[in-house]
């Protein structure tokens, strides 16, 4: 079974530029998550999709971050304009509630390491 794919793996941009990340979840997984992981911290949920609908985006800085999940499969996360504090690893995860809604194992992709200069 193929895992969660993400691209690019690394990105370096200047502040105020824009950047986009792409995620392809495991086939058949209805739930997709984008996390931001700052060095030395745990992953912080930015947005959660169920199929192509947003379930939770309470921690997404909506003035600069946006995300979409087209046709309930692939997803893109965009930052425009980027700030220095956006430097982090952006992780995409997908899951499927095979054992009930509280037993959703999340499978993480390799992440995109963003450096904002």
């Amino acid at each position: 079974e193929a895992g969660v794919a993400q691209s690019p793996r690394y990105k370096i941009i200047e502040k105020r530029q824009s950047v986009a990340f792409w995620c392809n979840p495991i086939s058949g997984h209805a739930t997709l998550y984008w996390y931001q992981q700052i060095l030395g911290q745990g992953p912080k949920l930015l947005i959660q999709f169920q199929n192509n609908g947003v379930v939770d985006d309470s921690q997404l800085p909506k003035d600069r971050f946006s995300a979409e999940r087209l046709k309930g499969v692939d997803s893109t996360l965009k930052i425009q304009p980027a700030k220095l504090e956006d430097s982090a690893v952006y992780l995409c995860a997908s899951g499927s509630p095979s054992g009930g809604r509280l037993k959703v194992e999340q499978f993480f992709g390799p992440g995109t390491r963003l450096t904002v200069l």
Partner: protein
């Protein structure tokens, strides 16, 4: 409501045991444990549910204490491959599968 993990870091010799705790100030419904090696994605270890049984992954087990709103991860006879950062993700019920992750515990196993 970010869960609190303790200790922040622990260093072991191969074969020694360790316990990592994850505490919440809010009523927990589920606790998920992940291990992340440097530069890699978090890897799922196990899920514990409120009222559920203790879980096990190889020589790693975990428990859920409802009274204390706490989960503990037990690493027995540690191996070099156990090195990494351990995160707990807590679920508080609701209609989605949202997890809130702790800051992690860095475990180093030396030969």
């Amino acid at each position: 409501q970010q869960p609190v993990q303790s200790p922040q870091a622990v260093i072991l010799r191969e074969g020694e045991d360790a316990v990592i705790n994850c505490s919440s100030s809010k009523a927990l419904y589920s606790v998920h444990w992940y291990r992340q090696k440097h530069g890699e994605a978090p890897v799922f270890l196990m899920i514990l549910l409120k009222g559920g049984e203790q879980m096990r992954h190889e020589k790693i087990s975990a428990s859920f204490n409802e009274k204390k709103q706490q989960s503990s991860l037990y690493l027995t006879a540690s191996q070099l491959s156990y090195s990494g950062t351990y995160f707990c993700g807590t679920g508080y019920g609701g209609s989605n599968y949202k997890l809130t992750f702790g800051k992690g515990t860095l475990l180093t196993v030396n030969p």
